[in-house]
Amino acid sequence: MTDVGRHPRIKLFTLSEIVDIKGYVGNFDIKILKKARYVSEQECTACGDCAAVCPVVRPDEFNLGLSSRKAVFTPFPQAVPSAYVVNVNECLGHNPVVCAKCLEACEKGCINFHMSDDEIEERVGSIIVATGLEPYDPTELDEYGYTRFENVLTSLEFERLINAGGPTKGKLIRPTDRRRPKSVGFIQCVGSRSARKGSSYCSNTCCMNTIKSTLVLKEHYPDIDIKVFYIDIRAFGKGFEDLFMRSRRLGVHYLRGLPGNVEELPDHRMRVAVENTVTGRLEFFDLDMLVLALGMKPSKSTRGLQEMLGLQLTPDGFYLEAHPKLQPVDAAARGIFYAGCAESPKDIKDSVTQASAAAVRAIRLMHTGEIYTEPITSQIDPEKCNACGKCVEICPYNAITKGIRKKTPCVVNTAACAGCGTCAAECPYDAIVMNHFTDDQINNQIDSMLEKSSREKILVFACNWCSYAGADYAGVSRLQYPPNVRIIRTMCSGRVDEKFIFNGFLNGAPVVLVSGCHMGDCHYIDANRWTEKRVKKIRKKMEKLGIRPERLQLEWISAAEGSRFAEIMARMENLRQRVSIQEISETIEILKNQEKMTQN
């Protein structure tokens, strides 16, 4: 930690948050909000004179409220940067009439109440997301009595109690009587591996963390009685099984079964009722203290950052990697990498491994100092452009400019164009060509797909980042769906032109599905809003023409929703079976007449 503070090439921003990110791989423009510390980071020597005179006493968050701190404080003794901080909401005020004791106590004059929040703008080439975890909040698991009984602790609270730097200097005490407990029980999988409460995934570290705690306890107090209530012990890592065996050899009692109920006895001991799944009997244990092995949840900041960066999440709420096996630290968006528990629950060793991998992936990208951009951008045919400016209004990236003089054709700035193709789909004059996803290329795919037995087929448009990836995920998970589905990939659902859909129906498609990222998850800021609008418009048009609008469907499917993709395909097949040959031929007739009319 201290290496970070000292490193000449690391600029550390604490009390800071990212409030905005623009741009792309190679050149991201970021805005950092740095909140005022009210103590100079450079000057403060962490002598503690200020805290000694501060009259405000508050629970200490670092020790989870097991000790107290002042309104001017250091989070913990080894903190980096090694400077105190004022919690200005708790501070009585710097007016000498009210308090200002710390100002007087600080000989170096580091405390400055006139500091204000700062907004800092910077440019970077790559981003590593290492936003960590949130421990599970066990209050909803009322059967363990965490909110009702003082002697039921979380694993993190236990960590602070057994820590030599903690509030008791490492002496384990029972909160009700401050005496050393003679027996301690650990309950595993609190908030993990449960479909009912908490999360269904395994949090990966809690088994080993408990085993470690039992070893520490046995080292401090060899005669202490320890019981561990578990579903399975997952000691899969290098050297882990040895630790588990050591713990058992030291007499720790591992009991298979999670308690159903915890009650408090008059002497504040905990009575644990558990069905021992080895003996098949209901057993009762009276223990001095109970520790809940908390699972991990994604950090609260995940959602906001995900939207800012256009990233994807798994159904569990952790960040989704580009490929679970071959690109486990890359985000699908280029130039963004994951490290640590932001991507999934993991222990320190795995976090460190992934962080080093993420650093190397970032270096691999940046080392030449140059970046190649995808040529999948749109271009405007000046002959056809009527300078209506619709594309200028649509482009999520403001990459299109309208001529200053009236009726000068619009121009695409290819460096700013991200290639969603929404402009090409919306242009009323067909003046925009979307490179690599041109009208002709896509229409050719539709034509050849529907050339034979069109009535049997389901035409699906899927966006590269979410729904196409969701279809891939269905494959990786071997989820089976009807084999008559034919997928056409576009970069964004915003590219799916009205023409493509009518071309599909004209060629005899019974049903058409347009699919894209969920609202707010669009890889192209909010281009899928246009998809939604367009599909609504087309369905109205279909109704007017006498084509059943239900035959056109719109669905949002994320990259992690393989099962949702498969379900939707089954639903589409259901829908297709209800479209008769006669209905299809009628539609073809209607659309042919329509074509003739527009030609005349």
């Binding site: 290496d3 970070v4 490193h7 090439r9 690391i10 600029k11 550390l12 009390l15 948050e17 991201f28 970021i30 989070p75 913990f76 080894q78 903190a79 440019r123 970077v124 080439g125 981003i127 590593i128 290492a130 993190l156 057994i162 820590n163 080993m208 520490v216 890592g237 630790l243 900041s301 071959l326 640590g340 320190i348 060793k349 976090s351 962080a355 993420a358 650093a359 190397v360 940046m366 100092g369 140059e370 951009t373 040529p375 271009q379 290819t414 690599h436 041109t438 290329q441 050719n444 795919q445 034509d447 050849s448 087929k457 990836a469 891939d472 494959g475 989820l479 089976q480 084999p483 498969a566």
Partner: protein, 205 residues
């Protein structure tokens, strides 16, 4: 960017189609030789083959050799998802002196063999369709050029827990500037709150 040149005007376009078995991943469900046979009769396809592993070194060599021998201009690889191996095959195109955007892929694994495991006939039919669609698209592909832009050699690390710290140090020690952003008053994250840590049973800080 200049408007892309019009579609190839040669009398006949020369397309090569490669249907990958992916070991048994595709071949156990999809009849790959039948798919490649059907593809060989498509317009502008001058060569069509099924191949054990298209992405492997021998697989790529075989395609490269064919490009040379048969003067192929466009390639259709029917294998796994383009999200996985499109960069691989684009690189192969480049090494053959072809524009990488004249490659088209048909997704026969993630979106065909793996999702229709018990319907080999229907899956083969689908594979034939997917290859036909890919060839029809390949016929209209146009060469595109990537643009080179300057890059900022700095990294932003969001979060100062153990992962953020390690990533920052690795980057900085390799000579890159790092901005490390942490929402709390100190770095250290959850790890700093732990006492001893497994498997070494030593202090966390």
């Amino acid at each position: 960017m200049e408007p892309a040149p019009s579609i190839n005007t040669k009398p006949q376009m020369r397309i090569g189609v490669y249907v990958c078995h992916c070991g048994s991943n595709i071949a156990q469900t999809v009849n790959c030789s039948k798919v490649s046979d059907t593809a060989s009769r498509l317009k502008d396809v001058v060569i069509s083959k099924d191949i054990a592993y298209a992405c492997s070194e021998p697989g790529q060599q075989e395609i490269l050799q064919d490009i040379e021998e048969h003067d192929l201009e466009r390639i259709v690889v029917a294998s796994c998802s383009p999200r996985l191996h499109e960069p691989t095959f684009r690189q192969m195109m480049k090494s053959a002196g072809l524009n990488p955007y004249l490659l088209e892929m048909a997704n026969l694994r993630e979106q065909c063999s793996w999702v229709h495991l018990n319907e080999p006939d229907a899956a083969t039919q689908k594979a034939e369709d997917l290859v036909k669609m890919a060839v029809s698209r390949a016929r209209l592909l146009q060469p595109l050029e990537q643009e080179k832009l300057p890059l900022t050699k700095r990294s932003l690390v969001i979060g100062g827990g153990i992962a953020g710290i390690q990533a920052s140090l690795d980057l900085a020690d390799n000579g890159y500037e790092v901005l490390l952003v942490e929402k709390n008053a100190s770095i250290g994250g959850t790890m700093a709150q732990l006492d001893k840590t497994f498997p070494t049973m030593d202090c966390s800080i």
